[in-house]
Symmetry: C2
Subunit: 198 residues, 2 copies
Amino acid sequence: MPPAKFDREQVLRSAMNTFVQKGYSKTSMQDLTKSTGLHPGSIYCAFENKRGLLLAALAQYKQDSELKFEGHFSQEVAVLDSLKQYLDAIVLDCADKEGNKACLLTRALTEIADQDVEIKSVISDSLYDWQKAFQNQFEMAIEAKELSSECDISHMSRYLSMGIYGLRTFAQTNTTQAVLQELADQLFNDIKRLTLSH
Amino acid sequence: MPPAKFDREQVLRSAMNTFVQKGYSKTSMQDLTKSTGLHPGSIYCAFENKRGLLLAALAQYKQDSELKFEGHFSQEVAVLDSLKQYLDAIVLDCADKEGNKACLLTRALTEIADQDVEIKSVISDSLYDWQKAFQNQFEMAIEAKELSSECDISHMSRYLSMGIYGLRTFAQTNTTQAVLQELADQLFNDIKRLTLSH
DNA sequence: CTATATCTTGAATAAACATTCAAAATATAC
DNA sequence: GTATATTTTGAATGTTTATTCAAGATATAG
């Protein structure tokens, strides 16, 4: 009984890319067989169907994002410094990327939201976890006396999420890295101000 | 030679709704014949094809948006007061609406961007005009000595656009009107601060 | 080496889709 | 009232789509 011959993570990353670039609906099975190198039957054997492959890709995306997140936010560095770096990385990501600047989660959420309740809630949960990850960092900074305990950290993390959504959408209209950087810096300043107003 | 029997604007508004709700790809011709009440042939006669109908709907959406915009920003009221009302209206729109909270322009931009250069540039132009409309309002406020002439009005209008993109995306994840209002208020405060820092 | 359970292959299938078209309807022009 | 140009109609068309499946390949177990 042979185990799957293909590298699951690699296949999921290829699928992820195709889904982000073309969108779920416009991604045909043919696109997926091309990008993953798998034959239709193999995909159906491993992931049940196109929807199952999307769900698996979403899970992989979440895992990859969390690793990236942890890479940026370490305990040794001040939260605000880590946040600045995190935002700068998003700016670079948007400026570098040729195709679609959206993240898989928001793109799929907007596209599928009202046609598939389960997928909607999977994505909403992931986005909420991401927002909570910011909040945790702020929380830890308060415990380390780095931020005032008066900070409304849930408001801050929501506003931060909103800002990043906006930044990525703004990046869709042809714009320069300099402009994106200005916007990211402004967002950073506004978050920073929320930590200082006590 | 009979003119078209149907009401063009009404047809386009129906098509607009269907496109926003289901997305361009997932909107079938059958969906469109149902929502517009037109038979396939009539749609092809009047708009050439599905893509043509989208382009016409985008143009109608732009016109409708501009009317709404002018309804909010009148010369008699202070810009910041008008802006507050404008943002509050967006919050209400997101809270009321059952289905998709995105605006047609951003939704179609994210979906189609890299598969149709012409549509991408039509939408980008519309979004840029919208951003410029904010900038014009700020400009007029400077001329009326209502705002300092030191204000970086293009930066302000870009940041405002970004914030609204973010707000609408945030609204896609199930959230309450109260939370959206907090975010809109925060955005308003941050824009306001940009007018005062001189 | 043989048996077996699993995976791979890719052509076949059936449904959904955008689009076409010829016939019928209809409003204006003269 | 007749002619004419345009729109409306909806069934037919051909393509694209996700999905299936039976035959073949392959790695482990005994």
